[in-house]
Amino acid sequence: MVSLKSKLFCTCPTDYRGKPPNTNICPICTGLPGALPVLNVKAVEEGLKIAVALHAEPSSASYFFRKSYFYPDLPKNFQITQYDKAGGVPLAHDGYYTLKKGKTIRIERIHMEEDPGRIYYEGGRGESRFSLVDYNRSGIALVEIVTSPDFTEPGEAREFLELLQKNLDEIGINVSEYEGSVRCDANISYAGGERVEVKNISGATEVEKALRYESVRQRNMATRGVKIRRETRSWDERRRITISSRSKEVEAEYRYMPEEDLPPVSLNQAIIKNIALNMRGSFEDRYRICTKYGVGEEAAKRLAGDPALYTLFMSIVGASGMDASRVGNVLANEFAFVVKKHNNPSLSGDISSLETIIRAYISDGDRSRFISATYSWISGIPVRAEEYKPKVDIDALIDKTLEKEIKNIGNLEGKRRLDYLMGQILKVSSQLNRKELYIKLQKKLEELG
């Protein structure tokens, strides 16, 4: 996290980029004998900000563990991490994130750990006579966000990373400012094969490329009848291929154990709430962020002027792929209208329900349903998500389909023409009421003659 001033367990600065090798170090981040880690409390706060933005549940306390493995860039030959395979407590867990088309990606856990140093091969890996190690980066705080296996195509992984990156910038984590601030490992399994982990991916565009390459590779293997084994591969950005990291994959033995030098950090609800509130900033900050999201001037003023409304705005755009300017306008106008009419109740309902209501309103424009749903929401009446599936404008859909299919229906008669058009429309929108569609379509065709 480059938004922090210092590393995760020492006071060395985080702006290591461009500094001569091994000049941004101290006894702690080089693991000198006798040095002890001291937790940078600011890092926990920043981690919790991310947790809040991803709707994740912060744990009541946070523990650190030692993950042991030998590697020259790892000064202590163990990494201090919040992740414990034996079932430890991460910083936060069970969140979600929504992509533009409304698809939800589940967040399994969010945890922090320290970054290792960097191995440098003079003249490239093959040519170098030495492996040199630079510890300037060693000990920088990393936040790891682990999603569930919810992506069904490479483009979704790219979209997820792009949106996430944008949202993190907005809440002040500044991931786009420096190269290499966002890295990812992607797991992919094809048609029942074992999962393959692709490491060393530098960002959103690369993850899509790497996954496309890997899905083709695995598909080809499957076609040839070659069994896909569980392995770790790394993405070679230059050659645009994945390379197997180890010839034989054995279950890595990390010998996790508690890091007794760092007593558990208690994360009480008051601290977490405070972090959510602090994310609001000043009126100017809020206004700037709203306009940056494309919210119109008037609406941005209204959102920025009402911290509760602003928090709702940030929570909704922070974890959904919805058009932020439209969400902002809805909240500042129709939503604020309802709230005001009912004497400004506290806006403490659950965000995902409100998100559903707004999503439906944006897509079908049914204002009266939106107002009654908003009233339910602010009154604390549970909102049933299935009632707020966006309504589809059947007439518009029929017109659009006819326009597109006019050439194809020329030689079809009567019922065959009707059936064909039914089929085309249902392909686009399968959940439509078939009877209603049939009647409307029939009427329309009669009109056309």
């Binding site: 000198l32 002890l36 042991s68 030495f130 279950e251 760092l262």
Partner: protein
């Protein structure tokens, strides 16, 4: 004159230095001369020339002290008695050392020890075994062997040691000195080169309880560089129970008595009888949880050691193996520099932390540790302290136990308890048997270090042990 100086304890030296009747350089040179005279004891790995301390206003200005060689000292090599750190020069001072320097201390040198603190005899050093001044053929106890020998042989008025499973108290017992392990967290571990970080503490070895308290007063306290460090709490509401002349109660632990040799048993029993006659009450308490304490101690210690010692790979410091080979072989090659005992404990720890064995060993040990802690906490409601021999046997001959490491592990049975629970514990000399010192151990309540020191001073006063090795 010089024999006058070495006969004075730390507190007395400080008084005279402050009054101006003694010069700091004079005191230092007297001890330095003795260190050079008694090199056969092999108490020091590095001895230093006099370097005046500018902090003349420091609370113990002019007091020279010896420091165990696993406590980092800026610009003074710190070896942990290992070939792995043979030439390691720390770029920073441990917090305890920084506090001593700020209080006006000059460092006499760095003392010999069991490699990385792993050993109970002082024999496992890459610089050769430390020798017991009471009988030069015998072990002085470990792992703070050099610190205890330095104090016992009057090569230093007092010394810092470290205690992971008895490493201060065992050598104090074997050399007729006072050794104190504070409550976990009461002295910063920053700069203490870790062996088993949830168990170990920096503490003091001195000639008297009073001298121990003087040095402890300087090094104690919360440190922002050690997140587990804490400030001593004020005495609890039990304070009124502390009488000036006795009348407190000690618990005896009968079920470990099988381990105790006849000589130690006699010395210990007679000390109990003597104290009893002076008004200190004793009662035996069966503590079932003790049966597995030693085993759980070794499991926890080895598991922590395997991660703490992983950093010695020759990449940043220490001997560099042939760099033209691939790094895996280079790292493996560097790690052959560890001594036999260290390798054994690293391997045991790696095994016990690996999947499939983690639950069977490590988690079980943590569970036993927690139960022992709770049981002794309960016991402390009825007793002011737990009284046991420090070591179950007299100092053995150097090399005698070399093929019987398990027997040596057993000698830690009484001392590991306080490391598992985090409570403060102190060993005081109680008698001589066959010309060798026997130590008694008092364990107090967690956080009540001052109270324990007061009780130990009272008991020392009642037992009136006197004796000095004739070297």
């Amino acid at each position: 004159m010089s024999s006058g100086i070495i006969s004075k304890g730390a507190r007395q030296l400080v008084d005279e230095l402050q009054r101006g009747s003694l010069e700091a350089s004079e005191v230092f040179e007297t001890y330095r001369k003795r260190i050079n005279e008694f090199t056969k004891l092999n108490a020091f790995i590095t001895s230093l020339e006099y370097k005046p301390n500018a902090r003349k206003e420091g609370s113990i200005y002019g007091l020279p002290l010896a420091i165990k060689d696993n406590i980092s000292t800026e610009g003074i090599r710190t070896t942990c008695a290992s070939l792995m750190l043979k030439d390691y020069m720390p770029p920073y001072d441990a917090t305890a050392v920084a506090k001593l320097k700020a209080a006006g201390v000059s460092i006499l040198g760095k003392t010999n020890m069991d490699e990385f603190g792993m050993g109970s005899s002082g024999e496992n050093s890459a610089f050769g075994p430390t020798r017991n001044p009471w009988d030069i053929e015998r072990v002085p106890g470990g792992s703070s062997s050099g610190s205890a020998v330095a104090v016992s042989a009057r090569l230093s008025p007092a010394a810092l040691g470290t205690d992971t499973g008895g490493s201060i108290r065992a050598p104090a017992s074997f050399t007729g000195t006072v050794g104190f392990k504070p409550s976990y967290g009461y002295v910063s571990r920053y700069g203490l080169i870790a062996y088993a970080n949830s168990l170990e503490q920096i503490g003091v070895i001195a000639r008297t309880v009073d001298d121990v308290a003087l040095i402890f007063g300087v090094i104690r306290g919360k440190d922002r560089f050690d997140s587990t460090s804490t400030d001593a709490k004020p005495l609890s509401n039990n304070e009124s129970k502390l009488p000036s002349g006795g009348h407190f109660r000690g618990a005896l632990l009968p079920q470990l008595s099988d381990l105790v040799s006849k000589d130690v048993r006699e010395a210990f029993d007679s000390s109990v009888a003597k104290l009893d006659s002076q008004g200190i009450g004793f009662a035996e308490e069966k503590v079932e949880e003790l049966e597995l304490a030693l085993k759980s101690y070794y499991v926890v210690a080895c598991c922590e050691a395997t991660t703490n010692l992983a950093r010695y790979d020759g990449v940043r410091y220490g001997p560099v193996a042939d760099p033209s080979r691939d790094w895996k072989s280079a790292i493996s090659e560097s790690r052959t520099m560890f001594g036999k005992e260290v390798k054994a404990r690293i391997m045991l720890g790696s095994y016990m932390l690996s999947s499939g064995y983690y639950e069977e060993y490590y988690l079980k040990a943590l569970y036993i540790r927690r139960n022992l802690k709770l049981r002794l906490l309960k016991l402390s409601e009825s007793y002011d302290f737990i009284y046991t021999p420090t070591m179950p046997v007299l100092p053995w001959k150097i090399g005698e136990m070399i093929d019987d490491p398990l027997q040596v592990y057993l000698s830690d049975a009484f001392t590991v308890i306080a490391n598992l629970t985090g409570a403060p514990a102190i060993s005081i000399p109680i008698a001589l048997k066959k010309g060798l010192p026997v130590g008694g151990q008092l364990q107090g309540r967690y956080g009540e270090d001052d109270r324990l020191l007061e009780m130990a001073a009272t008991i020392s006063g009642l037992l009136k042990f006197r004796g000095e090795p004739s070297i």
